[in-house]
Symmetry: C2
Subunit: 206 residues, 2 copies
Amino acid sequence: MEFPSKLLEKAVDEISQLPGIGKRTALRLMLHLLKQPEDQTNRLTEALTKMRQDIIFCKSCHNISDKEICDICSNPARDHQTICVVEDIRDVMALENTRLFKGIYHVLGGKISPIDGIGPSQLNIQSLIDKVKKGEVKEIIFALSSTMEGDTTNFYIYKHVKDFEIITSTIARGISVGDELEYADEVTLGRSLIHRVPFESAFKAV
Amino acid sequence: MEFPSKLLEKAVDEISQLPGIGKRTALRLMLHLLKQPEDQTNRLTEALTKMRQDIIFCKSCHNISDKEICDICSNPARDHQTICVVEDIRDVMALENTRLFKGIYHVLGGKISPIDGIGPSQLNIQSLIDKVKKGEVKEIIFALSSTMEGDTTNFYIYKHVKDFEIITSTIARGISVGDELEYADEVTLGRSLIHRVPFESAFKAV
């Protein structure tokens, strides 16, 4: 692409470094910004700068936060002995949306993936094991993706905490609510069969 | 969506104002930025600010430019009497990529669209008509989208310039090079039949 303006080219180059944004999309976004009042660009750049400079990670659960200890970890109404292990902050948001979990979280910041060069030491795993060692934990719920990397991470952590007196579980895998059986893959269907739930408890109001 | 951080929420809000970027995509982009070195965010915001503040529109053709008169309009090797009328800067870039047009452009900045509240006065139409009136133009090539709005704009401009001694044309509509006939719509196919091209000239090397 040949650009009529170096300034435009530079802006397109930078925004197209974001994942999933190609040069064409970037150009469309920049032309949109140019058509809008200058104020919109200023608000956007200010929000980005502030976020990148001032955001911190909760010292306890490693979730994104505006404070040293996040709102969830500092909430006395929550059960601090039940920890849900997740990959990243989007999973915390998804689980919070269910309004069914009253414990606290532990955000790993990713999953073990040798192919991407991500080992246990790059993730927030040690601080979780330390919590277990200190006897601060009663139950760990693993809520990682159901992928090869997710399972590797599950087993790695499990290996390090299984000898302590804690309850461990993973979230249930099975047919999504609203899904038709015929479209489910065999592995999911198989797991949902093995881990079948007593009829009376399956339809209990949540 | 409930965010664990106001700073993150603000950044997501701002970036999701861009066209085609929803809240989920915005969140993904922001989490990516947070994982990258702070330098990347700084380069991005600086490029956006500079672009929005310093970019100007060419006084002659209204194309985006870093100078008062853009590189195309200030190039003496180009034919300044042949003007190609386009909607926006992306069309200029697409036509320049063909390397087949040696004239100059006139960027309207959109097309007439009553439904979106865009009338002729919001577009750079008058300056084109003025050029024609001053006798600066020998030929006008219309290269607008082949849509209702594009055609409305075509006819509006044509009405104002047709009484002057200039040549007017529109770019050819027809089957795309590489396309199979059976997938073409009837209107396109019909036009390509009516405006058929002498065999010898159709395959001339460009």
